[in-house]
Structures are given as structure tokens and as C-alpha cells.
Symmetry: D2
Subunit: 284 residues, 4 copies
Amino acid sequence: MKRITLVMNCPDQKGIIAEVTNFIHNNNGNIVYIDQYVDRVNSIFFMRVECEISEDSQSIEHFKSTFERTIGTQFQLKVEIYLNDEFPKMALFVSKYDHCLYDILARHQSGELAVHIPFILSNHLDLKSIAERFEIPFYHIPITNENKKKAEEKQLQILQEHGVDFIVLARYMQIISGKLIEHFKDKIINIHHSFLPAFPGAKPYHSAYERGVKIIGATSHYVTKELDAGPIIEQNTTHVSHLNSIDDFIAKGRDLERIVLSKALQLHVARKVMVYKNKTIVFS
Amino acid sequence: MKRITLVMNCPDQKGIIAEVTNFIHNNNGNIVYIDQYVDRVNSIFFMRVECEISEDSQSIEHFKSTFERTIGTQFQLKVEIYLNDEFPKMALFVSKYDHCLYDILARHQSGELAVHIPFILSNHLDLKSIAERFEIPFYHIPITNENKKKAEEKQLQILQEHGVDFIVLARYMQIISGKLIEHFKDKIINIHHSFLPAFPGAKPYHSAYERGVKIIGATSHYVTKELDAGPIIEQNTTHVSHLNSIDDFIAKGRDLERIVLSKALQLHVARKVMVYKNKTIVFS
Amino acid sequence: MKRITLVMNCPDQKGIIAEVTNFIHNNNGNIVYIDQYVDRVNSIFFMRVECEISEDSQSIEHFKSTFERTIGTQFQLKVEIYLNDEFPKMALFVSKYDHCLYDILARHQSGELAVHIPFILSNHLDLKSIAERFEIPFYHIPITNENKKKAEEKQLQILQEHGVDFIVLARYMQIISGKLIEHFKDKIINIHHSFLPAFPGAKPYHSAYERGVKIIGATSHYVTKELDAGPIIEQNTTHVSHLNSIDDFIAKGRDLERIVLSKALQLHVARKVMVYKNKTIVFS
Amino acid sequence: MKRITLVMNCPDQKGIIAEVTNFIHNNNGNIVYIDQYVDRVNSIFFMRVECEISEDSQSIEHFKSTFERTIGTQFQLKVEIYLNDEFPKMALFVSKYDHCLYDILARHQSGELAVHIPFILSNHLDLKSIAERFEIPFYHIPITNENKKKAEEKQLQILQEHGVDFIVLARYMQIISGKLIEHFKDKIINIHHSFLPAFPGAKPYHSAYERGVKIIGATSHYVTKELDAGPIIEQNTTHVSHLNSIDDFIAKGRDLERIVLSKALQLHVARKVMVYKNKTIVFS
């Protein structure tokens, strides 16, 4: 028995759940978990199904092609099917801050984060020793105004060579080019150190301090061409007070960033996040 | 069109979701929301479905009896069906504290809480004026060691006369008799002022203060014969410090009690809570 | 013995704490609680002291004038002295939403909120019956483009007749005039239904829904001439998901608004909030 | 200029704040931060003062001895004085779980945690490679029923050789002997994976799951002879639901344990925690 995850969406229509569950049942699948949502404003139906199918009688490929040929066509249903025990390849982009990197690597080591990490890529050398410590290949691609385009081509080449599935910007302090975003649509996850839409852009902790807020936050989102405006996956906040300096904001924020980013990664890896019209559906 | 909610459970078996969704589809129902859960330890399947059915072609009663006769029997499925626009009747038991009472009445008035409140019942007269202010009948049934049994019979009689569906103990400071609990199994909701299982019984804030905890909590649960040990519906906590006296604990706790109890009531009223083996499944 | 609260600030200088505590000690005062903060960026010293002084030997007035004449002058110290058992007069401004109003009135009744409420004022008649129910005078001052100036003069007149100390805008849906703000500088408390600085102005829940945020918030702040940009007293957030409609945002937000506004009121009433350069120092 | 921290307590008496602040002022100290608390039940006064003193004119030692000889004697004041730039030595005890260890080491590397870590000690070899990766000496002291007493003597010897100031049990799965507890009174910090006093002892996540709680928690406390009953430094909780298996509880709990333990360590290292009668005063 193999466990697979189906993630699908289509225009909302009557009887869709019955049809899909029937199909799985009739193809010897056993539904283990089902989650569904209808966006009533846009009339779109979303569903995520985990089911067990027998490996022998039915290959995943055959299951998928039958699905697509029959009810896929019938309902204009876009579906993706994943084998639960196949780990996706996650590239780690970093710059100089190490707290998110350490957190991700520790979770990866302890088995909390079900991914392969083919490499760490940075525009600086500061975190190279951490990559070595965890025995993960490290690419150093410095970025200047002059070499920016070339550097991005180099990045894309490395990503493709390694067959990377998605990218994490673990406090990577460079703006990602439109080309990379197109290649990895809804597959580049960023952590921004504010509760967006407040304080987008650079130095949000400084702006938060200046405004005298009583909470600070962190936001993990998919990267789109508009800066810090992509679909939000996860957010959280924590209380601050007049006692806290900007440095305190930064220190408290580190804990938020770690928690929010790792939560977003876990949701993405479990195929629980679906993007539609710059918003996310996040199944629990 | 009428909207109805089906809440069901049965031994877990293959194809059950497909069968139920098929049934609804074939009986001209349109599924609006579906939530399902399998307790793998006990092999029990739970499902909650909201669907729209046409009022004309199909009466609710007919729908229900057909459901029970066919797949109900086939899968040993226990089902309850509710009309979403029929408000349940909720009795309010109170003693001397008014904060949960005020909170519930205000939510009721503003339409947040979709129930009828046929009466408020108390063993004291302290809150009678609030009942009058909100124009809700008030029953005063004092309880002493001598009259306890008679008082409870009186309570039961009033509850039955009013056709009460469920009871809220909004800081009602009396232990409920076994007889009442049997009549209202999984239908008496209590708010206990601690994060159970810590600090059951009387004076939990005092015990929490004594222990020097850094969080206090509140727990809403269904009442069972064992004191403060029934199935938990909702819990929450808040931070306290050495600066806080017992009175501060009590004041901070009031906010927790209000929030936790009203959340539990809303979940219960929306038929989102299912009880199994002294635990709850709470759909979101 | 009377308990008094001193709230003071002055340019930061060496030995200031020693001088103030000495003064109190030498004037037969016993310090019960002291909290102090130095804003190092602006070099301003803030202190809040609660102390007991003997009623007989020393009148509050004499204590105050001596304080001001001696160390007040010496350190350019601005001080306010309050008698802890004198309740401030709080005017309640509302429009159509009742949840904050109910919450405040219930807290007031139960003794949680140590204020007098001389009246409720509204530009609509919707909440008049609640005022009557709680036996609090109700002023109805409708506001139109034509009568706006006159209406505000009327408001000011009523506020002064009643000797109001501070104003709460409990979801009052009108912009306050500059004249009123000047008369009640740092004494008008608003609740805004977003985590400012995100979503200022009208319909923040709609904007939050549109943006697809995973948290919503509420902010209580002092009113200044710039809309929703005054010194923040208290903020809080709660999680939302794709399951939540705008109506759900509004319902969840109501709980936040209640909690955040009542917390801000309690801090203000306890003289724990000090304003400096559009930010607050909030002692705990 | 040197910055020092004074932590003191004594029987509560009038004028004590004035005397201490005077003393510091008269000895050329400048108070930077003051926090004070009176336990009114036990009539004990607690204070923490950070101040700058000139290095030349006055040595720390002289300051301390003068303080103790004068107001120390006068008020029966117990005082400890720390140089802020002297890092304490923190021993790390671990067993098999690596998440708290990784978290502490990452915070240490990034400068968040102002301690020296002379060594990591474990009763197992599982985490040896992490110690090596971070270049920290690792002692392996297996513990059996037979060698327990000898093993503890060995531990004590290593602790004393390294001049350790305090010990962190970062999920160390052995009960600490009374002897070690006496040597390090209020200096052994444990992380327990429940919201104490609920679920003390072994397997709290299993017990929490069994009870059907809707929140799980973590507690950091000083170790005393009674298991999981020492003074609590920090606690936190997070929500769980029926969807979460015991493994999910454990995974969610790991984040709590990391956050709660690191917060407790930071408070301890900043000398902000004072213990009195099995409770803590924690300054902010």
C-alpha cells in the first residue's frame, strides 16, 4: 500500500465530492483524509485528499491518467498527485543572518522537516561554516549591480541541475528576479519580519519601533513580482513594550521568524497550501 | 431551499464518504461544507455535512427517514439532522458571578449566539435584576443540604416544561445531580476556571497562585458524573506574573472564562462538537 | 492613610530616583509601588509611584505643592498626583455597534472598571435602549455635513457640564473634530479594528479579507488629528483562515475589540499610560 | 564605566528604596534600571538595580563591601552583585532529544545567549556528534541503577573543575540527585513538557492526549527534590485539536520547549529571576 495526496481545484459544481470519492473508491483507493473548501466569491472548489492505494494492482501513473481522463476532463479539474514518501528538494537561500538557517537545519536533522536539502546558496560567505558543519553543499554567488543578471542565471542553472522543487528565502537579503519567480511560481517561500501588510520592505523592526506598536510580527508568503505582496501562508505576532529597544524587537522577532517560517515550510511540504488569486487556502 | 446539518458517526469502513456524498447528491442535496475525521485508535468515522435541500421536492423528515433506512442501516451509522434556521433552547444556570451571564446575554442580543433563552435559573437572587433588565424569566431555586433532591426535581420539571435542548452553567456554583446529567447527556456545558486537568474543584485561582504558575486558564467541558473530568470542548490560557495577586488572577480569569465559554457555546450550537469516549471532536 | 499615585517625567539626570524616593520618605509617605523608565533616545525620565500618606498630618494639596516647589522645580519635573479612590468621569461615545458598549457597561457594573459614567452620547438612536436598561443618561446628537460644527459645540458643552475627565469612542463612527481633540489631549481613547498601522480608516476587516491575511487585530490608541495615527496603548491579534468570511472576521474581531479596549481603559484609569512623542510608556 | 547588576531582598521596611538609591548615588553610581517588588503576604522586599559605576574611582569589590557593611547590615539585606560583561558558565545536560540542544547552541553562536558553555554532558552517546560539530567538549557518563551514585560524583567533580555557575537540563532524562541539587540550589533549570502542575513525571504528552485537552504546554523551572515541583520560571501553551496524534503533540511541544527553555535561560542569565518560598519573582 502506498499513500498518495491529491490536490485539486475546479469551478464549483454540484456532486463534485461524490464523484471524486466514488472514483477513488472504485479504483481501490481508501480515503484517509479529506479536506475541501468552496470559494463562494469566485465559485471555485478546492480539495485535498489523502488516500491509500494498492501498489500492485494499480500504478500511481495509471491512477493519475485515469483520473485526469475521466472526472478530470468532466469537471475541468486541475489535479496534482504526490507520493507521500517522496521528499521534495528544497533549496536554501541565505545571506548573513543564521537563526532561520540553524532552525531549518536542526528540524531537518531531527526528521521534523520531510525534505531533501541539495544545497545552501548565499550572496555572502558568512554562513559557509554552518553549511560545512551540517555537510551540505554551499554555493557562493555574490550579487552586485553589475553582475545581477549573470548571477541570477547562475542561480537558475544550479537550481535546475539539482532538480529543486521549491526555494526557501531564509532571510535572503536580495530581491528575487522576475525570471526566477516565473520558473518557481508559488514555489519560493519568503519570511518577512513584520505582520504584513504593515511595514513592507527594508527595516520593518525600525519602522515598528518608530510607530510605537505594541505587537510585532512575522509573515511567510510566496514570492511574487510585487515586493512583500505575495500570497500569505502563515503569520504570527508577539507583544512588545516601551521597555524593548530596536535590538529587543529584532531578538524577539527572531523567534517569530523561526516559528512562522518553519510552520509555512511544513504546510507547503505537506501539500496543504493552495494558491488562488493571491490568497492561500491552507488546510489543517 | 433549506440548509441542514448532518452529524454522524459509525465504525470506520471503506467507501463511507463516497456513499454519503452520493446519497445526498442523488436526493437533490447540494453539499456546502463537509468535515470528516477518523479516530484510528478506535476505528470510528465521524462526519459533519452541511447541505442545501429543496424544500418542495423533499421534506426533511423524508430525507432523514430515507437516509436512516438505506445507508444508515448499511453502515450502522448514527445520524442527527438539524435545520440550520431552527434555534436550540438554551437554559442558563447562574449563581452570583455576573460576568459570563452579561457576556452571553450581550452576544445573544447582538445576534452572535443563535439560541433561544427560555429562562435563567439560579440558587441565589443576586442576578435577578439582570434577568429583568434583559426581560428573561428568572427562576429562583435555592439549594440546601435538606432540599437538594427536591430542588433538582423542580429544575428538571422546569427544563422539561420549556423543552430545553441544552444547559449552560455560567459559573453556577452547585454540583449537578446524576439524574440531570443523565437527562442531558453531553448537553450540559460548564466553564471551569483553570486549565484542566490542573486545579479541578473549588478555588482554582487560589491554588494556581499558591503554586506560582506563570499561566492561568479556563476550560469549557461537558458535565459528567466525575467532577471537572468531562469531555473538554475548549481551553485557553493567559500569562500572569508575580505582580498579580489572587484578585488579579480572578480578574484576568474573567476574560478567559467569557471567551472560552462563548466559544464553546458557539461550537455546540453550530453542531460542531461530537463526543466520543470522554473526548471531543471539534470541527472548525 | 490615603493611597496616591504620582506620575511624572523630566529630562533624565543623575540621582533623580534617589531624590524622589527621599522626598516621599521624608514627607511620611510609604512607597508601595514604583516603576520607572528612561527613554535613552530622547533622554527623558518617566516614573510612576504609588504611595500611602497619612491623611491627618499632611494634606494631598500640601504634599503636591511642596513636591512641586522643591524637587519639581529642581529637576524640571512635570508631575500629576491622583487620589486612588477618586474615580475619573468617563464619557461613552457610541454609534450603532453594541458589543463594546455592553462589555464596558458589564465591567463597570461588576466593579472591574473604576470609573463614573456620567452619560452615553451617540449620533444614532439605536443604542438608546441599552443606556436606559443600565440607567445611564443618553444624549442623541445626530451629525450631518450641515450641522457638524454645531453638533461638536453641543458635545463639548455636555462634556464640560459633566466635568468629564476622558472620552471613550466605543466604535463611535464619526471623525472627532480638532477642537475636541485639543480640549481632551491624550484623553480620547479609540478602538480601531485592525492591527495598526495596517488597514487604517474605514472597513479594515474588508481590506484584511481582500489581502488574505492570516491574523486580524485590534488597536486602542489616543486620538490625534491624524486619523488612526495616535499613540498606541494596546494591541492584540487572533488567527483567521481561508474558512473565515468577512462576517467571521467581524465576529472574531468583536472579541478582540472588547478585550483590547477594556485593557486600554484599565491601564488609562490606573494612570499607567504616559504619552511622549506619539508613543506610550505603559507600566505594568 | 562598568555596568553592574544588584539583586537583593530583605524584610520589607519603610524607606528602603530611598536608602538604596541614595547609597548608589552617593557612591558615584548612576541607576540605569530599577525594578522592585514587595511580597505583601510574606513582607519581603525584592529589588534589582542596574547601574553604571566608574571603574577608576571605585572598585566593584569596594562598592560591594561598603554596601554590605552599611545598608546591607542596617536592613538585613541579602545582596548579590554581578558585572554585566562577565558571562556565567552554563553546563548542558542532555540525553537523546536534540531540539533543545540545537536551539541553545544556535542562540549561543548568534550571541543571543550571553553564557560560556564549558561542556555538554550526557548519559547517552547519541548527541556526541552535535557537540563535536559545535566544538564543545562532551562528557559521556552512562547511568545505571548500579553506578548511579558514582556517576553523580563524577558529574559533580566535572562541574566543579569547570567552575560551572548553573546547569541546564535540556531534556536530560534522568532524575537529579539530592546532592547535586544542594550544590546548585536554584541553579539547575529544567524544561518539563507540560503545563505544570498538570501532567508531572514521565510521558506528559501521552497523558495530555489521553485526557483530550485542547492545549498543551511546557514549563521551565528550577529543580528541587520534589519531582517537577520546583519554582516555575516560565510557561507557555499552544492549541491542539482532535486532529493531532500523540506524535503531533510531541512535534508541537518541541517548539514550546525550545521557546520556554530559552526564555527561562535568558531571564536567569540576566539575573531577573529571584526565588522565594518555591515561587519566582521574574522582573521584566
